[in-house]
Symmetry: C2
Subunit: 507 residues, 2 copies
């Protein structure tokens, strides 16, 4: 036998092999195959609104199109196809670059757009934000990966991750060789968080020699769709303070709220509201993106992260997080904080995030204002999408709850529904015989029967013996009744087939 070659499978980095990413896993691959064979597939596996027919918002696309074609700005006919405020904004963004969209920006993103993000955060939270602690990224996922790569040193470093979770976190923790420390969300409490679970998880990790160093929250939740309550957020911030954990707040769905009782509250606002010592001590990284929200500009890959409580080191001029002042700049210190400088350095290795995505981000945090030519159209388009998402969240939850052996919390936010599927023991046995995890078995049958491409709950984690699936609420509203009818027909027949007098796998 010749020795394996460097790119043969047995030679590959074990951490790469350990990565699991169900959102584009077996179900997605099978769906792609069926599509190639001519079957109509409804891709609800990824939150990808435009792929399901959502139209882009006009104004930001006009601005970015003009930035791509700056020669149009001098064209006498430009006013025939673009409104004046889009032309003005394109000139504004081009003035922030040196060389337009074709030039690498600073590796943290264009300073002018980081300033727009800081202003947005200040308006949202009521506290100033420092642009030097904001990094623009090729989508939020890349930012999450960079921060985890910064934190994780080896397999003894643990990261608290909610279960169910979005598998970006488990995948990145595997890739960087750390340990995922799960904490369970309470399905019965509307996917809320119980600090006792957190304590239990940390204690269990410690007993295995793992140092828990950071905690992830996803708010609004993915795949679970809940909005964390203010009480929950307070508890977990205190917990992070007590346990010396950095908090990674995945807030990419902050625009997607489908009820009025529980509005989105940023972890940062609440942390700063809570006052000293927490407001000065808890290290927080918050993530946002143009992919989610109601913009859904996934393919543009624009995101940011903002760091809180990474102040200048001793010896630098002191920076008060509640004031925005100039930062000390040494020969290698651009932010005054050595960790921020390390993150900047690593970002520099791939030179810069894509510049068009940065401009989308600028537009998202600084949309048309009352009085602007495009304001009414922009507002109408925005309202149309958000209102429809709110109705779809309701149609889907109600649809699932009308099905045999299916129970589903209401989608308060984000863009997913995560119904529990109470699989009868016979179905679990049939799955075992087929060599499949039970929820994978169910989702594959659903796919073959209806073309609905979902992600099995096992891809996100769930309690032992409990089964779910995740679907986005993104199919076109007019298609929704037919999709839910098709799901109900499949599900109820499936249950009919596998149910017997012994009852369900779990009551």
């Amino acid at each position: 036998m010749p020795p394996p070659k460097p790119l043969d499978h047995e030679s590959v980095n074990e951490n790469v092999k350990k990565v699991a990413y169900a959102v584009r896993g077996e179900l997605y691959l099978r769906a792609s195959e069926l599509q190639k064979e001519g079957k109509k597939i409804i891709f609800t596996n990824v939150g990808n609104p435009h792929a399901l027919g959502q139209k882009p918002l006009t104004f930001p696309r006009q601005v970015v199109a003009l930035c791509q074609a700056p020669f149009l700005l001098d064209d006498p006919n430009v006013g025939l196809v673009f409104p004046a405020d889009a032309i003005g904004r394109a000139k504004h963004y081009l003035s922030l670059t040196s060389g337009g969209l074709g030039a690498y920006s600073d590796s943290r993103g264009l300073p002018g757009i980081r300033k727009e993000v800081a202003d947005f955060i200040e308006r949202r939270d009521g506290y100033p934000s420092n642009p030097d602690l904001i990094f623009l990224t090729d989508g939020a996922s890349k930012g999450v990966m960079q921060i985890l790569n910064t934190i994780i040193r080896n397999e003894k470093d643990g990261i608290l991750v909610p279960v169910p979770q979005y598998p970006l976190y488990s995948a990145a923790i595997s890739l960087y060789g750390g340990s995922l420390v799960p904490y369970y969300l309470e399905e019965e409490a509307n996917w809320g968080l119980d600090v006792n679970n957190l304590r239990h998880s940390v204690a269990q990790a410690r007993s295995k020699g793992i140092t828990v160093r950071a905690m992830v929250i996803i708010n609004p939740g993915n795949p679970t769709g809940q909005c964390l309550s203010e009480a929950n957020l307070r508890d977990l911030l205190k917990f992070c303070f007590q346990e010396n954990l950095a908090l990674l707040a995945d807030e990419v769905y902050q625009q997607n709220i489908y009820q009025d009782e529980r509005p989105f509250i940023s972890a940062r606002k609440l942390l700063l509201d809570m006052g000293s010592p927490l407001s000065r001590e808890v290290q927080l990284v918050s993530f946002h993106t143009v992919s989610k929200g109601y913009w859904g500009e996934c393919g543009q890959r624009g995101g940011y992260f903002e760091m809180t409580n990474l102040p200048p080191e001793k010896g630098s001029s002191c920076m008060d997080m509640t004031k925005q002042g100039p930062l000390e700049r040494g020969s290698h210190q651009v932010s005054g904080n050595k960790t921020v400088d390390e993150i900047y350095k690593v970002a520099s290795v791939s030179l810069s995030p894509n510049v068009p995505g940065q401009i989308f981000l600028g537009l998202m945090v600084n949309p048309p204002k009352p009085g602007d030519i495009s304001y009414l159209k922009f507002t109408a388009e925005s309202k149309g999408i958000l209102d429809s998402l709110r109705r779809r969240a309701r149609i889907m939850t109600d649809g699932f709850n009308s099905c045999r052996n299916v129970v589903c919390n209401f989608t308060e936010g984000a863009m997913y529904s995560f119904p529990q599927i109470r699989l009868p023991p016979k179905a679990v046995e049939a799955a075992k015989r087929a060599g499949k995890v039970p929820d994978v078995f169910y989702c594959l049958k659903l796919l073959e029967a209806t073309g609905i491409s979902t992600v099995p709950g096992s891809g996100f984690g769930q309690k032992e013996g409990v089964f779910h699936l995740r679907t986005t609420i993104l199919p076109a509203e007019e298609d929704m009744p037919a999709i839910m009818a098709s799901f109900k027909k499949f599900n109820d027949e499936f249950m009919e087939q596998y149910e017997d007098y012994r009852g369900y796998s779990r009551m």
Copy 2:
């Protein structure tokens, strides 16, 4: 003392701290400071053509602008500002997506564009290329990082990297915890490669317990600007075969050739020319981008890598690299090769490369053809840029060679000049007293005196006691004589100041 917090500098992943990236290092930061203070800076530290005034090519920008604003395609006035072939191409690219630029694509990139890349490679090399072995990326750097992350398992895995090298390689190897194994390029042989150096490097690494698993070549060279000769390429391919190394061929400058004697030859073409067993055995990953070439669309972040000799595993249908056939598809095997599937899986974690960058890549590999409306304009713009780069390469080389104690190989390709600066011993002593590496000392003084922002040779690696700097050849052609005069004035005065009767640091 309270314990360090998770994001305090002492807590950060050591591999992150070890990363060094000189292209945006001390010199760049100092230049940015001086710019803020009002000094005119000529940024020649990064190959970033548009930042130095190069205009984007019109046709690709028109196409991407239309893709961003698909509502324009139905506008009766669109023909007043866009030519018909740009409109046609925009419709073509939109037809390849499901949801336009706002939708995530497949994580490998849009299949239709991967097919355009495969066709380009076939035209270039004379051998078919398989789109399933082509992955689109957010620029070539991200692709290089992903491949290195796949190969490197621990610090005993070595990667052969040329010295001088582009610091992406050293940075990524540090980040992923591997070992950089340097091999020296021969400045006296026009920065060619000597297989004896390679053997020596591998033997030295082995003596330290390091297994060398891959070799990097940069052709045309960065920072060195040479085109590898066919003989050199043959030698190194044989070497990779003998030593069981994967070859990583950084060919991002393949369009940038400034002489006719030594055209660019892709590693893949030569490998397949060499016939069995090499053509079936040597694993090769080749990188390309829209950032370099004469397009210079750095900010768009579009790149690809193509893998050669990662065939279907036993049990899959056999794939002959010289034919393009359908690949076996198992439930988790989409390419028929498990390593390719692992790379696909990891790419999936960040969902997809940015879609506008993918379209730029499609346009680069499939530019306007004779007879197209935009052909003449596109060709004239292209020729204008390439001819000017050729002249600038000459002006810069001649300029450096006219300076005291400076010798410089001609820039045969890429976009850099890498003159050797023979620093007098007194200058080396002065640098030591200032606590600076000698070439950093020189480059800082150059920056302060002239505003020319270069990168010291030590950022790329160089032989002990030999000093260089890297500059791009990208400043506007009309500014070039003044820049070189300013450099010469600084250099010759510097040498005057530090030279004495004892001679130079190196003859």
